[in-house]
C-alpha cells in the first residue's frame, strides 16, 4: 500500500528477482512453488544468461566414482579459498551439495551417466580425498555443457511453476526508504524504453559477474555487474573486490573458456619445449592444482620465455592422447569452441590457452540465507531489510580468495534455494508493504535523462540519417575500452603497488571524462547504446573498487598476488575487505572461521 503516486507505471509483487541465471531462477522457483507472486526481471531472455556458458560441472560429494564425503569437499573449498572463505557458509554449501544435485536430477537435468546408471562425475582442480590426500572425482557433469543443462532445466521448471517473467527489462536502481528498507527496484523496459517501478517486500539481486571490466575475459558481454552498481549507488559496500579469478585456460585474445574438465579428463599443459611444467609448480596435484596456482604457473612460464607461438604469449593444453571418441563424448562443446575460435581440433592437436579473467570471488556482502549484510553501529554484518543477493554477484563468502571449479554452479542452486526459503519467511512476517519514499524513482529518472542529453553544437550540424553519426568527443565504447585496457594491464595475475597506483590514476581520469560522454542514438525503441551507457555506469565503480581494494591488501592470498608482498599474512589480512563508494572508503570484517557443526580448518600453508 502506498499513498505515493509515482510518475511511471508501477507493478506490485511479493518478491522481485533481478537476474535470470541459475541463482535467480532457483530462488524464483522456491517462491513461485510456494504460491508467492514473484516477478523475475532479466535484461536478456533467461536462457541467454551467462550460466549457460558453464562447462565442466557442479561439484558434490556423491561418491559415485571415488570414495567421498562432504567434509572432504569442505576442506578442499576452505583450502582453495586460501582460508578467506567463511567456514559456516562453506559447510552449509558442501553439506547441502548432494541434495542440490539430486534435486536438479529430479527436475530433469540430463546429467551424463555411469554404467550403473548413476550421475557421471569427473575430477576437477583442488579436489582431494581424506583432507589433502588422493585426487577426488567429485564434479557432476552433463558432457561439457553442464551450465546449459542447468540453466535450461531451471527455466523449464519456472515455466511449469508459472513464474512471471519480465524478459528484457534492465534494472536501474534499488528503492530504499529512510529506514534503510529495500522496497523494490526501478527497471527499464528495453523494447519500449519506458521506466517501470517494481514494488516488492523482498528484492533479490542475482545479476552475475562483472569480468567485463577486463579486456580479455571468459565472460559474456552482458556480465557488467549491474547489481553491484545498484548496491554501490544505494550506499552499500562491496566485499573482497580484489579477488578475481584468472582461469588458466582461456583461448588467447578471444577469451572463451576451455573447461578445467579437459585436465580432469586427462589433459595437461605443456610449454614451448613440450615440458609438462605443472610438475614443477604442483608436484602432487600437477595440472589439477587450484586455478590460481595453475594461472600463476602459466604466467611464470610466459615470463621465463617458455611461452608458445610467435609472441610466446600462450601455452598448450594437450588432450588428443585420450582418443577422439572420448573427446567427442565428454568434451563435445570444447571441441566445437576450439575448432571455431582457435582453429584447432583437440582430437589431433593441442589447444592454445592463457590465463583469462573468469570469475569474481567478491561481490555484494551476504550471509548464507542470501540476506545482504552491511556494517551498522551494532555489528559488521547487519541485514539490509528486504534485500537479498545470490550467485556470482554475491559474496557469501564461500569462495574466499579463490574459487574451486564446479563450486560456482553449486553456489547458485544452494544459495538460490536458501534465499528463496528465507524470503518466504520474510514475506510471511511482513505481510504489509511499507510506503514508498516520495523520491522513489528520482535517481533513475535523472540517470535516464542524463543520457538523453545531446551535444548542443551537434544539433545544428546533424548529418543526414544515411551518413555515420559522429558522437561527442567521448563515447561509451571508447571509455569502456580504455577502462578494460587499464584493468587488463594494471590488475592482472600479478600486481604491485606502483602498477595498481598508476592504474587507479588512469581509471580516475577515465571516470572524470564520463560526464562528457553523450549518445547519438536517442530512440526509445530497444536502444542498446543507452543500455551500454548504463552498463558502463555500473562497470566503472566496480573497476575502481577492485583497484582500491587490491592496493590496500598488502599480502598475496589466492587470486590476489602482490609481487611486492609475496607472502600470505594471516596476522593482518585474514579478513574481508569492504569497499564503500563514498570517498573510496575501506572497512574490514573478520573471516568467519567457525563452521556450523564441525571443527575449524585452521589456516596453514597451502600447497598442491
Amino acid at each position: 500500500m502506498s499513498a505515493v503516486k509515482t510518475s511511471i507505471p508501477k507493478r506490485t509483487f511479493d518478491a522481485v528477482i533481478v537476474g535470470g541465471g541459475g541463482a535467480g531462477l532457483r530462488a524464483a522457483l522456491q517462491l513461485a512453488q510456494a504460491n508467492f507472486k514473484v516477478a523475475l526481471i532479466s535484461k536478456v531472455f533467461p536462457t541467454r544468461s551467462h550460466t549457460v556458458s558453464a562447462q565442466g560441472g557442479i561439484t558434490a560429494a556423491l561418491a559415485n566414482v571415488s570414495d567421498d564425503n562432504w567434509h572432504w569437499h569442505m576442506y578442499d573449498t576452505v583450502k582453495g579459498s586460501d582460508y578467506l572463505g567463511d567456514q559456516d557458509a562453506i559447510e552449509f554449501m558442501c553439506r547441502n551439495a548432494a541434495a542440490a544435485v539430486y534435486e536438479l536430477e529430479h527436475m530433469g537435468l540430463p546429467f551424463s551417466r555411469l554404467d550403473n546408471g548413476k550421475i557421471y562425475q569427473r575430477p576437477f582442480g583442488g579436489q582431494s580425498q581424506n583432507y589433502g590426500g588422493e585426487q577426488a572425482i567429485r564434479t557432476c557433469a552433463a558432457a561439457d555443457r553442464t551450465g546449459h543443462a542447468l540453466l535450461h532445466t531451471l527455466y523449464q521448471r519456472n515455466i511449469a511453476a508459472r513464474t512471471q517473467f519480465f524478459d528484457e527489462f534492465f534494472a536501474l536502481d534499488l528503492i530504499r526508504d529512510q529506514d534503510g528498507y529495500v522496497l523494490g527496484v526501478t527497471a527499464l523496459e528495453i523494447e519500449t524504453g519506458e521506466p517501470w517501478l517494481f514494488e516488492a517486500r523482498a528484492t533479490l539481486l542475482a545479476t552475475g559477474g562483472a569480468c567485463r571490466i577486463f579486456r580479455h575475459s571468459t565472460n559474456a558481454h552482458i556480465n557488467t555487474g549491474d547489481g553491484l552498481g545498484m548496491v554501490l549507488r544505494a550506499g552499500l559496500p562491496l566485499e573482497d573486490m580484489e579477488f578475481w579469478q584468472f582461469h588458466p585456460t582461456g583461448i588467447p585474445e578471444i577469451g572463451s573458456l576451455i573447461t578445467e574438465g579437459v585436465r580432469g579428463e586427462g589433459g595437461y599443459l605443456i610449454n614451448k619445449d613440450g615440458e609438462r611444467f605443472m610438475q614443477r609448480y604442483a608436484p602432487n596435484a600437477q595440472d589439477l592444482a587450484s586455478r590460481d596456482v595453475v594461472s600463476r604457473a602459466i604466467a611464470q612460464e610466459l615470463l621465463a620465455g617458455r611461452g608458445c607461438g610467435e609472441h610466446g604469449d600462450f601455452v598448450y593444453l594437450k588432450i588428443d592422447h585420450i582418443g577422439a571418441d572420448k573427446i567427442k563424448e565428454r568434451l563435445p562443446g570444447i571441441r566445437e569452441l576450439s575448432m571455431q575460435f582457435a582453429g584447432v581440433d583437440p582430437c589431433v592437436a593441442p589447444m592454445p590457452v592463457t590465463p583469462t579473467a573468469h570469475y569474481m570471488m567478491g561481490g555484494i556482502p551476504s550471509n548464507m540465507h542470501g540476506q545482504v549484510v552491511t556494517p551498522v553501529r551494532t555489528g559488521p554484518e547487519e541485514a539490509v531489510p528486504g534485500l537479498y543477493a545470490v550467485g556470482e554477484c554475491a559474496c557469501v563468502s564461500v569462495h574466499g580468495a579463490n574459487r574451486l571449479g564446479g563450486n560456482s554452479l553449486l553456489d547458485l542452486v544452494v544459495f538460490g534455494r536458501a534465499a528463496g526459503i528465507h524470503m518466504i519467511e520474510t514475506l510471511r512476517e511482513n505481510p504489509i508493504a511499507r510506503p514508498l519514499p516520495e523520491d522513489a524513482v528520482e535517481t533513475s529518472l535523472a540517470r535516464l535523462a542524463r543520457w538523453d542529453k545531446r551535444k548542443p553544437e551537434r544539433k545544428t550540424e546533424r548529418k543526414p540519417e544515411h551518413e555515420p553519426q559522429k558522437t561527442g568527443t567521448e563515447t561509451v565504447a571508447g571509455l569502456r575500452a580504455e577502462m578494460q585496457q587499464i584493468m587488463q594491464a594494471h590488475c592482472g595475475v600479478y600486481r604491485n603497488e606502483a602498477l595498481l597506483k598508476a592504474g587507479l590514476e588512469k581509471l580516475s581520469a577515465v571516470e572524470a571524462r564520463l560526464p562528457d560522454a553523450t549518445l547519438s542514438d536517442h530512440s526509445k525503441m530497444f536502444n542498446t547504446a543507452r543500455l551500454e551507457a548504463l552498463e558502463l555506469e555500473n562497470l566503472l565503480p566496480i573497476a575502481r573498487a577492485t583497484l582500491v581494494s587490491a592496493l590496500a591488501r598488502t599480502e598475496s592470498r589466492g587470486a590476489h598476488s602482490r609481487e611486492d608482498h609475496p607472502e600470505r599474512d594471516d596476522e593482518h589480512w585474514l579478513r574481508h575487505s569492504l569497499y564503500f563508494r563514498e570517498r573510496d572508503q575501506l572497512d574490514y570484517k573478520p573471516v568467519r572461521l567457525k563452521p556450523l557443526t564441525v571443527k575449524t580448518f585452521q589456516p596453514k600453508e597451502r600447497t598442491y
Binding site: 536478456v44 541467454r48 549457460v52 556423491l62 551417466r113 546449459h148 558481454h221
Partner: protein, 236 residues
Amino acid sequence: MPAQMRFRVYRYDPESGAKPWMRDYAIEFEPKGKKVLDALIAIKDTLDESLSFRRSCREGVCGSDGVNVNGRNVLACVTPLEGLAQPIEIRPLPRLGVVRDLIVDMEQFYRHYRAVKPYLVNLDPEPENERPQSPAERAELDGLWECILCGCCTTSCPSFWWNPDKFLGPAALLQGYRFIADSRDQATDERLDFLEDPYRLFRCHGIMNCVEVCPKGLNPTAAIGKIKSLLVKRAF
C-alpha cells in the same frame, strides 16, 4: 594490414517513422579469425552506435544473435567473416516481426516452446538419490537437449512461414521430443495427444531447412520423424 570490409545491414526503427532500409558500411577490419558479431560490434563501437542487435555469450551457446547473413540463418558470433561474399548482407531472422534493426520479436517462437510443456513430468515419489538412467537411455537425449533456442531453424522453415501461429516449428518440436525420449518422463501419451494435430506437428514436410541451418548441428527433422512414428505405432 586490415582490409576494408563492406556490409549491408537491415535498419529499421519504428520510432523514426521511416521505412526499413539497407545501410552500407565500410570498415577497416582484419577478418582473419573474426566472426560476423565482431564486425557488428566494430561498426557499433566506431561508426554507428544506433545499430541494434542482441548478443550475450559470443561463443555460440546462449542463442541471442541469430541473424540472416547472405541469405542464411546463422549465429553471428560463430560465423567466420572469411569466405563471405561482400558486401556481407545482414538481415533479421525471417518471418518474425522486427522490433528494431536486427532484433526480432521472439514471442511467437517462445510461445510454441512453452506449448510443448518443456519440462520433465514424473509423478513418482522422488527417490533419495538420483533416478537411475543407463548410458544408453541417456544417449537418446543427445542431439536434443543441446538446443539453444536461437530460432535459426524455425525461422528458416517454409511451413512455419505459412502457419507461424499454428505450426510449432522445428525448435519446439525438438524440445517436445526431448522429453518424450527421456526414460524418466511419464507423460508420453499426453505429449503425443497434444502433438497429434494437422498443424502443430504435421505441417512438417521434411524440407530439412532446419537441419541445414542449425548452428549446433542438431537434427529436428529426425526428431519430428520419431514423433510421427510413435504416433503411428500408437494407432495400432
